[in-house]
């Protein structure tokens, strides 16, 4: 239980504060990816691929323009990738190369706070990233490129934050396990990219086997939940499933992260 309540302790906030200070020092470069990513993807998937799909896609029994279909998926995919990569590479570099964690652990900060600091920071960073993407999507809506229910956009923020925290907890497991940064390819190609493919983020899952597998994939429920929300459809099933999966991930993965990292960082 203490592993979970440590998220609320001041030490976890101090770790987040440290990461935020570093991020704000480089704000001018940090803001570029969330602005450019949706523009690039909308151009590539929407205008490029979408040009071949003039009739759009069928979603929940109704036709939807491909760019409109892709936009919520893009938010879900960004949530997944940003948080996972932050907890994989960002945390690994701080743990192994910069030795930031070791420095923090000689103070009143304990390993459980370092772990939560990394998770909460990934959640916060991802949420700000998605919020900026939301602003870019609003501009696209104004230009008539997509048709979303933008009034629901504020509801996306807390969903994205909790999802990003759970994905970061998954990423930290790999950070604790991979021996070197080169071995990051293993979780990326064996776990992360397959999860991304079976998620209905960029294309609907028509194949029954893929559709069955995707029901256990939190990214699928996040993508479909956000899509339901932003396309004004019923998203209760997917958001409910997402809540259950995220609660399971956080309650299992956070203590597991602490156990694995205790061995890795403290040698204990």
């Amino acid at each position: 239980m203490r592993a979970l309540t440590a998220a609320l302790e001041w030490q976890s906030r101090a770790v987040v504060g440290r990461h935020l200070r570093v991020y704000l020092k480089n704000w001018h470069t940090s803001f570029l990816p969330p602005v450019l990513e949706p523009i690039t993807l909308l151009l590539a998937f929407g205008l490029g691929l979408g040009a071949y799909m003039t009739s759009g896609v069928e979603w929940n029994g109704r036709p939807v323009g491909y760019m409109t279909f892709v936009a919520p998926g893009m938010l879900a995919y960004a949530t997944f990738m940003t948080s996972i990569f932050q907890s994989l590479f960002g945390a690994f570099i701080r743990m192994r190369y910069q030795r930031t964690w070791e420095g923090q652990l000689t103070t009143q900060i304990e390993l459980r706070h370092v772990v939560w600091g990394e998770i909460l920071w990934a959640g916060l960073l991802t949420t700000s990233y998605v919020a900026i993407m939301g602003l870019v999507l609003s501009c696209c809506q104004a230009l008539g490129l997509i048709q979303l229910e933008l009034g629901y956009l504020p509801l996306v923020i807390p969903i994205v934050f909790v999802s990003a925290c759970a994905f970061a907890a998954l990423g930290l497991c790999f950070t604790a396990l991979v021996p070197t940064i080169d071995h990051m390819n293993l979780p990326i190609f064996l776990v992360i990219l397959p999860l991304g493919f079976v998620s209905a983020t960029y294309f609907p899952l028509g194949h029954p086997v893929l559709a069955a597998i995707s029901t256990a994939n939190p990214l699928f429920h996040l993508a479909e939940g956000l899509r339901g929300l932003l396309l004004g459809d019923n998203s209760g099933y997917h958001l409910g499933s997402l809540a259950g999966l995220l609660a399971l991930m956080l309650s299992v993965l956070v203590p597991l992260d602490m156990r694995l990292l205790r061995k890795r960082v403290l040698g204990d």
Binding site: W10, R18, G103, Q104, G267, D268
Partner: protein
């Protein structure tokens, strides 16, 4: 008045191996306690348990008589830790490193900007305040590490091999800083491989070998207990060496310490007199023992 830090019967297993086996040690305010021992003796593991990085499998650590396990957070507020490797934050400047370290303590250290200025001046880091730590020389990096460990005004400081890799001038500068901190009443626990450093800085020594305390006391008393009063140095290629080896064996003194073709025999006054009677024609030198001798003796696998 209870000592600042007291550890009793500390035990730690790592990877199924007993690394620390019943270690006792005590450090008072205004005292430097030197923790010595060869590689693998358990010094760093002991130190890591003392500053709360590792939890002990057995034993107790008390700070001013209070069991630290009851309130580890409060105990850690009183500690400053300078690890063996540089662990400063490379994303920040020298000044920001001190400021960010202050944020890792509650209650928050008062008047942080003034404290940071004070430390920058005291450790001669002022000219580098706006630089990244990577730009500093080895000696100034160590100064930054020690300054960072002091930003919250701790009462007990852990220094894990603080001068390893430094040139003689930088080492002396660190010694002066440590002396100054002791004079201010800080308790300091120090590990080092440099025997001259341990002798000069330590008020008391605790010597570890294979995870156990093998000697404790002032540097002089530890040497007397572990090595005797004299060290006999003689050329190892002398034809009488087999006879000397046999003499050592019959008296249960074990193998001689061999250094660069010379044998070093730590002997008590009585044993030296006996040795002189036994080998009247042998040429040798007699000198007082030092901590290097102790280190060599502990490092010898067959040492008695």
């Amino acid at each position: 008045m209870p000592p600042l830090l007291q550890a009793r019967a500390l035990v730690k297993r790592l990877g199924g191996r007993l690394v620390v086996d019943g270690v006792d040690l005590t450090c008072h305010a205004g005292q430097v306690l030197g923790l010595l021992g060869p590689n693998g003796a358990g010094k760093t593991t002991t130190l890591r348990m003392l500053y709360g990085f590792l939890s002990a499998d057995g034993g107790a650590i008390r700070f001013e008589g209070v069991d630290v396990s009851k309130d580890l957070d409060r105990f850690k507020r009183q500690l400053g830790v300078c690890t063996q490797d540089d662990t400063f934050d490379g994303d920040f400047t020298v000044r920001q490193n001190l400021e960010i370290a202050a944020r890792y303590f509650r209650p928050r250290p008062p008047e942080v900007p003034r404290r940071v200025d004070e430390l920058l001046e005291r450790f001669a880091l002022g000219p580098y305040a706006g630089d990244k730590p990577e730009a500093l020389s080895g000696g100034f990096r160590r100064r930054l590490m020690i300054a960072r460990a002091l930003v919250h005004r701790p009462r007990l400081l852990f220094l894990d091999e603080p001068t390893t890799g430094l040139d003689p001038q930088a080492r002396v500068a660190v010694w002066d800083l440590v002396n100054g901190l002791r004079a201010e009443g800080l308790g300091i626990v120090l590990t080092t491989h440099y025997m001259d450093e341990a002798e000069r800085l330590s008020d008391a020594l605790t010597v570890l070998a294979q995870g156990k305390v093998v000697a404790h006391g002032t540097p002089k008393s530890v040497l007397g207990d572990m090595l005797g009063d004299h060290v006999v140095v003689l050329e190892a290629n002398d034809s009488t060496m087999p006879a000397v080896a046999a003499w050592l064996t019959t008296r249960g003194l074990g193998e001689p310490m061999s250094v660069l073709g010379a044998w070093q025999l730590p002997l008590s006054g009585e044993q030296l007199a006996d040795f002189a009677r036994e080998f009247p024609a042998l040429r040798y030198e007699v000198r007082p023992p030092n901590l290097d001798d102790l280190f060599l003796k502990l490092a010898l696998p067959c040492a008695p």
